[in-house]
């Protein structure tokens, strides 16, 4: 019975998470209140854990919450439940897209969507840069060298150059960065 409820609650999370994993947070907070499966503090702790581990944040949250409520089967069930709405919707949309992929309307649509998505991703990059190495939002409250952490910016530049020049698998750069982070105490 608990599993059925677990499935349904996380199915709703998957369905109503529109535009990124953080959109799931308000839903999880209200779930904490209505089910008492976990506390609201626990949701905040989950965000930190999700950001530090691989994979989509929404799924990480589902696994963690599902595991605490119903053990390993709970974790798997909650994760799958979160993924299901997306799969169903995408299959339906994908069928329509393939059918009309040569139509002028679809081509026009992507003409406008590509720059929009590029901008959204550019904003995501800005957020990470702001959080890790150049604290744009703290200009005025911190000294110049606190805002502009040149060691990290330098490492970023070296990384970007390496990525463009050598075209290795991303995991190579992630591994190097983890080691450099520990050595230089980033």
């Amino acid at each position: 019975m608990i599993y059925l409820q677990l499935f349904w609650e996380f199915f709703k999370v998957g369905l109503f998470t529109v535009g990124g994993g953080m959109a799931a947070v308000p839903l999880l907070l209200s779930m904490a209140e209505s089910t008492h499966w976990f506390t609201q503090d626990f949701v905040v702790q989950m965000i930190a854990i999700s950001e530090s581990t691989p994979g989509p944040i929404g799924i990480n949250m589902a696994t963690y919450a599902g595991y605490t409520v119903g053990g390993i089967p709970g974790g798997i069930l909650a994760s799958v439940a979160t993924a299901i709405p997306g799969v169903i919707i995408v299959v339906l949309v994908s069928r329509a897209l393939q059918k009309f992929s040569q139509s002028v309307t679809v081509k026009d649509a992507f003409w406008g969507l590509r720059p929009a998505v590029t901008a959204l991703i550019a904003y995501a990059a800005y957020t990470i840069i702001n959080k890790t190495m150049i604290h744009f939002t703290k200009i005025g409250t911190l000294s110049f060298w606190e805002v502009f952490q040149w060691q990290k910016v330098l490492f970023f530049a070296v990384m970007l150059f390496g990525i463009m020049k050598f075209k290795k698998h991303p995991v190579v750069y992630i591994a190097i960065a983890a080691v450099v982070g520990i050595l230089f105490k980033f």
Partner: protein, 206 residues
């Protein structure tokens, strides 16, 4: 730049690329490719794009970079978690419904395994000082990877002045407006603009 061309040429000769031509990428290979993608994506969503590019476009040649971009665009506007939607799109493109299911299972499996292990073994693992430093370093690598992706996307998707204006407007809105639903409005808005603008443009040319 020459390097990119080489990678593409190599990708075209792999057995996986032949599979795609025959329309029979095996479900196992699809699962494996998405599993690898899910396992090294720190942060979900956009952080997945460079790795996905590498796995399904450059290494295996299953689909084109443009297709991946288009799936991201549509995934933005649909309900559900972005990475799952993209995985389902790619899976469906290659092997219909079983492909969508396999692709999604591939992406979520590593997270389920890793998070379950963490939940079992550690309680405050992100408070560990070495983990914290490593993650700071990883964030920088992720930023560099994403910036590299943006450069590629820019070259392919921002070619005309109106497209540049869409980019500028969406970026500035994201910067100054804090609204959970903003990305959806941006996607829908640029979609509407594109349809109207292109229609008018064609009429004027006639």
């Amino acid at each position: 730049m020459e390097n990119t061309e080489n990678t593409k040429a190599n990708a075209a000769r792999t057995p996986e690329a032949e599979d795609r031509k025959a329309g029979t990428v095996s479900l196992g290979k699809l699962f494996l490719a998405m599993f690898k993608t899910g396992a090294v994506t720190f942060g979900g969503g956009y952080a997945m794009l460079p790795i996905l590019d590498r796995e399904v476009v450059e290494k295996r040649g299953w689909i084109t970079k443009e297709e991946v971009m288009d799936y991201y665009a549509v995934a933005q506007a649909l309900p559900g978690i972005i990475s799952i939607n993209v995985a389902s799109f790619i899976g469906h493109r290659l092997r219909k419904v079983p492909g969508a299911v396999m692709g999604t299972l591939g992406v979520i499996s590593p997270c389920i395994i890793i998070i379950t292990l963490i939940a079992m073994l550690f309680t405050n693992f992100q408070d560990n000082v070495y983990v914290a430093h490593a993650l700071q370093g990883i964030n920088i690598a992720v930023a560099a990877l994403i910036v590299n992706t943006i450069i590629t996307m820019w070259k392919k998707g921002v070619k005309e002045i109106p497209q540049f204006l869409i980019f500028l407007l969406v970026f500035c809105l994201s910067l100054f407006v804090t609204n959970q639903q903003l990305p959806i409005y941006c996607v829908l808005g640029s979609l509407a603009f594109a349809l109207i603008y292109k229609r008018i443009e064609r009429r004027v040319r006639k």
